[in-house]
Symmetry: C2
Subunit: 307 residues, 2 copies
């Protein structure tokens, strides 16, 4: 079943202690779709400026991402400039030029409105709601949000939450949204706000999933080198939604596997700058790391218990 | 098979945002033995002062902990006073009075020297070596260390590491010991220093195990309330060594289960101040949380995959 993603397509300038990338293709919709396309057809809804490079559009098309909904407007493409600390869990935004993204009014194509899987990338909750209202009867609606929206537009976010199957957010955002410092209490409080599932992203420490069945915890895949964490959250969401769309149902079992695949996808993207790693990634590599991930976390596999 | 633990028995004054404990029984040997005794017989080697309360000795004896090696000397018992930040991953030592512990020269009883399992709590590496030299032919030797010894007595620590099966340390200590910031590189570098296994403790984020078989990652059991993290590392070690001693072999399979049981034991101790929770804990509670822990981390259980 196909997935529609609404979010940003941007140019990112990224600095980490390992180097930098200048005006590299980025944005939540780019990361999400480049991960999700391994599992199911993906269709983008986003806006870019007249400076958007034909080669970047081609990059998406070549990977079977439907870009009919990638609107081109006069002006410049959104540009984000960020700098990571030595501790890559922390970063500063040096500048953010919304450019054409400031006037973004997502309008879905008729076939996009009939999609079963919808991911609302991190845009204003009012815009997310505007998109959700255009859908006929989606099976699974997931959204990402951030501290900025929680603090500046809680009313719109509260309304949105009531219509969500899945909310993705990081641990700090879960604390701000719920008012609970303890993460278990925070996750449970978020569920009471509407979403059936809350996926709390903890960066290098993995993901904590809250659902009506209880909790599920996965570590992040331990890597020898992390060059650039940009887009890890959207890449994770792409893996999760991709897996769910491929398997066509939202049970605790598929959800847990989806979270592992999301973690696997995120473990790749941080290995190189911007989204470069996702453009060269093969299904064989995904499959190999999925098996390594299972081995990493499994204490009951016959391989170990027969010893 | 029985376990010998060498470490501190102390009185701790602990302050957290949730309250405080005054001169409560603590010390690495106390936490370790109160966890390990659920799995195998434990024998303590430690020193206390003349102020050591008979009721505290009784507390250990009643829980089948062998205290023949608990030496009593004129003077006061070691006293530690610590204060945790709101973020309980951080704490300050307000004061540390070694008292009789300053003259501690552990001498093992003849039957202790023949034990198969030895845990060297966080004392100076020279003292740890002094104890190890008294053992006839232990099957598994584990030790804990800390940044203080890594920085002040690296030569003695390096010598000790060569004779260890298991080293437990936290993530920051793994970085200092190895000189590697990346935790995967740090863990692998620690293995090259001698220990067959390195268990890197990450507090609320769980444990990363390094062995010749590769890596194993477990999250910490998510709790609604953490009152006092004191002793969590030693309690974890008690669960690990207890499980290994009970099963009598050090394979990757038993090790992984041991790390889960260690995590389970640690998840209890932080629920109350000092070691109180370990004194009331029952095997039924341990077993129930072990099963909850497996459910928390398992993405392949039939309960989920049959859905």
């Amino acid at each position: 079943m196909s997935i529609v993603v609404v979010g940003s397509v941007a140019y990112d300038t990224i600095e980490t202690i390992h180097g930098s990338a200048q005006a590299a293709l980025g944005g939540s919709a780019s990361y999400f779709s480049l991960a999700a396309r391994f599992f199911a057809p993906v269709s983008i809804v986003a806006v870019v400026g007249s400076d958007f490079k034909p080669s970047d559009k081609e990059l998406l098309i070549e990977r079977n991402i439907d870009v009919r909904g990638l609107e081109r407007r006069d002006g410049k493409t959104m540009h984000w400039h960020g700098r990571y600390h030595e501790d890559m869990n922390k970063r500063d935004t040096i500048s953010l030029a919304l450019n054409v993204f400031a006037g973004f009014e997502p309008a879905l194509l008729p076939d996009q409105r009939r999609a079963d899987y919808l991911f609302l990338g991190n845009i204003s909750p009012a815009l997310q709601q505007h998109v959700l209202a255009q859908m006929s009867s989606p099976k699974v609606v997931a959204a990402d949000t951030m501290n900025h929206w929680i603090e500046s537009d809680r009313a719109a976010l509260t309304k949105l939450l009531a219509g969500l199957d899945i909310l993705t957010l990081n641990d700090e955002e879960a604390r701000i949204l719920s008012g609970e410092h303890n993460l278990v209490k925070a996750g449970r409080a978020v569920l009471k706000m509407g979403p059936k599932i809350a996926l709390v992203k903890r960066g290098e420490y993995g993901v904590l999933q809250f659902s009506r069945e209880g909790m599920f915890a996965v570590p992040a895949y331990p890597l020898e080198e992390v060059l650039d964490p940009t887009g890890a959250g959207d890449t994770f969401a792409g893996g999760v939604m991709g897996y769910l769309a491929r398997h066509g149902r939202l049970s605790e079992g598929t959800l847990r596997s989806a979270v592992v695949y999301g973690s696997v996808m995120a473990s790749f993207v941080v290995e190189k700058f911007a989204l470069e790693r996702l453009t060269t990634l093969t299904w064989e590599e995904v499959d190999r790391r999925y098996r390594a991930f299972i081995e990493l976390t499994d204490c009951q596999h016959p391989r170990w218990t027969s010893q």
